[in-house]
């Protein structure tokens, strides 16, 4: 049995949530709506995040192009993903949606460009 304290991010209310985890059994208290319950379950069972960063561009009109993971990735993978992003450079031109890294850190999810950078 494990207990975790969370703050709900569903709305400005920011309810303080208490989650009791007993194996598969999850009990949420402190929430004032269904969203708080959903949020707490996801946060303790399989928390995910979008990771955003920027990578260097060669021969581009800008030095950097911003990037993001195309979908949510497991929270525990954030630093592995950053490691790969930091090692990456791309060649201009780059367009929004272009794949910058395929299957980033073994998540099966690509990192894509979020900005257009023309070549010089």
């Amino acid at each position: 049995m494990e207990t975790r304290e969370l703050i709900c991010i569903g709305c400005p209310l920011g309810c303080p949530l208490t989650v009791r985890i007993d194996g598969e059994n999850v009990e949420v208290s402190g929430n004032t709506c269904k969203r708080g319950d959903d949020y707490a379950r996801k946060e303790v069972l399989s928390p995910t995040r979008i990771v955003t960063s920027s990578v260097h561009v060669k021969n581009g009109e800008l030095e950097m192009v911003s990037v993001k993971t195309k979908e949510d990735i497991p929270k525990g993978k954030i630093f592995e993903i950053m490691e790969e992003i930091r090692k990456t450079t791309v060649n201009a031109p780059v367009a929004i949606g272009d794949v910058v890294i395929e299957n980033c850190a073994g998540t099966g999810i690509p990192v894509i460009a979020t900005k257009n950078v023309a070549a010089v």
Binding site: L13, R49, E63, M64, K75, F79
Partner: protein, 421 residues
């Protein structure tokens, strides 16, 4: 002298949305003036996601949100000038502009839309003792250096102020391998969004110290350490509570100030609370034909509201150009912000000529729990809405409908306030 129907000062989210709206309202001759080398404004450096949930019903990064509006402006073939600085605007709507291609020129506008955005409050405004070493940045400057110019900003970081940019930068620097030691916030609450506190600080175990401020900066060439201390209710440091952190970087996220030097040169009436122009329900300033929208008018929490407001300013500027100043029979009523409501935008409402609905935006003065937001017409309560939590970091709004004024032909004032019960 070059002449244009509508000149828009600033090519960020406000300027772009205003331009697209003005074109859709039928104005062909529009010019956007942008001092940076590209359109999109500050969104270009806001590479995190969370933009556009209201406007596009999806979660975009800043550059993606900007690109949507840049594409709309380009599809409408709206002309713009980059690397172009407006240095003066006068009462006759003559805009003095400087750039490398044209040198110093003057443009005569029929209508002007002010969309210059805001600037960060600098160290000089805070009176922090200590030398002036390298390593002290406003959070937005650090954001630009990292995300656009590709520099590494620092390795060990203390952040003063828990505004959203500071929180976002705490996460950004952590992801880039820096150690963010603490975020100190002068107020007993954070000015940032809940989501950012959880996902930028809690996720990475970065402590947030409320009611704390920086009392000393050490280092002569480069920052070597920071001392923070707890503050009392008077916001003055409490002796004996000092804590020292060794670090090479101090980021400041201590507030945004609308950038209104040009508005002042026109001589328009300014609000002392928003630091932006006072506007009527058309978002027109006290200078006829000069409109304002976005962060130059008041600092927004979400860009989605900037786009919405700017769309209104663009549409109204287009109407002004088409129909001139004739407004017919006006009945202007002042909007008063009272009891915990700090200000309203707009500040006045012409109940004869208003649109069917007018959105009034405002911020509250403190964190309140279980309060009503109430609207009074000449002392009569018209509406009240219960809010479980109100916080200064989040913009609030009420919508006033034209048909609600039918029973008040002699209306003198509208009050928007918070109430306990």
């Amino acid at each position: 002298m070059a002449k244009h129907d509508i000149v828009i000062i600033g090519g960020g989210p406000a300027g772009l949305a205003a331009a697209v709206a003005a074109r859709k309202a039928g104005i062909q001759d529009i010019l956007i003036l942008e001092r940076d080398g590209c359109l999109g404004g500050i969104l270009n450096q806001c590479i995190h996601n969370g933009f556009g949930l209201h406007t596009f019903k999806e979660e975009l990064t800043g550059p993606e949100y900007a690109a949507r509006y840049i594409e709309m402006a380009e599809a409408e073939k709206i002309p713009y000038k980059l690397n172009t600085m407006v240095i003066d605007i006068n009462k006759d709507k003559e805009v003095t502009v400087i750039n490398k291609e044209d040198g110093l020129t003057t443009i005569q506008a029929k209508a002007i839309i002010l969309a210059m955005g805001c600037r960060e409050r600098p160290r000089g405004a805070l009176n922090i003792p200590g030398y002036r070493p390298a390593g002290i940045y406003s959070a937005g400057t650090a954001q630009r250096l990292m995300n656009i110019e590709g520099f590494s900003v620092g390795r060990e970081v203390v952040i003063l102020g828990s505004g959203d940019i500071g929180l976002i930068m705490a996460r950004r620097m952590t992801l880039e391998g820096a150690k963010v030691k603490v975020v100190a916030e002068l107020m007993p609450y954070s000015g940032g969004l809940k989501r950012n506190i959880v996902q930028c600080l809690d996720d990475y175990g970065i402590p947030l110290k409320l009611s704390h401020t920086v009392v000393n900066i050490e280092g002569k060439e480069r920052v070597t350490g920071i001392t923070i201390a707890q503050v009392g209710p008077d916001r003055k440091p409490i002796p004996g509570t000092e804590e020292h952190y060794s670090c090479d970087t101090l980021l400041l996220s201590v507030g945004l100030i609308p950038e209104n030097e040009l508005s002042r040169s026109i001589g328009i009436d300014m609000s002392r609370i928003t630091s932006g122009p006072e506007v009527n329900d058309q978002l027109e300033t006290s200078a006829e034909g000069v409109f304002a929208c976005g962060n130059v008018l008041h600092v927004h929490d979400l860009v989605d509201y900037v786009s919405e407001e700017a769309t209104l300013a663009g549409t109204n500027a287009a109407e002004y150009v088409k129909s001139g100043e004739e407004k017919g029979n006006t009945h202007v009523v002042e909007l008063k912000a009272e009891n915990g409501v700090r200000y309203t935008v707009p500040q006045t409402l012409d109940i004869n000529n208003m649109q069917e609905k007018v959105t009034v935006r405002f911020r509250v003065a403190d964190v309140y729990k279980d309060r009503y937001i109430s609207v009074y017409y000449d002392g009569v309560q018209i509406s009240k809405k219960k809010k479980k939590v109100l916080a200064p970091g989040e913009m609030e709004q009420v919508i006033l409908k034209k048909d609600s004024f039918g029973e008040y032909p002699d209306l003198k004032n509208i009050v928007i306030c918070t109430e306990v019960e």
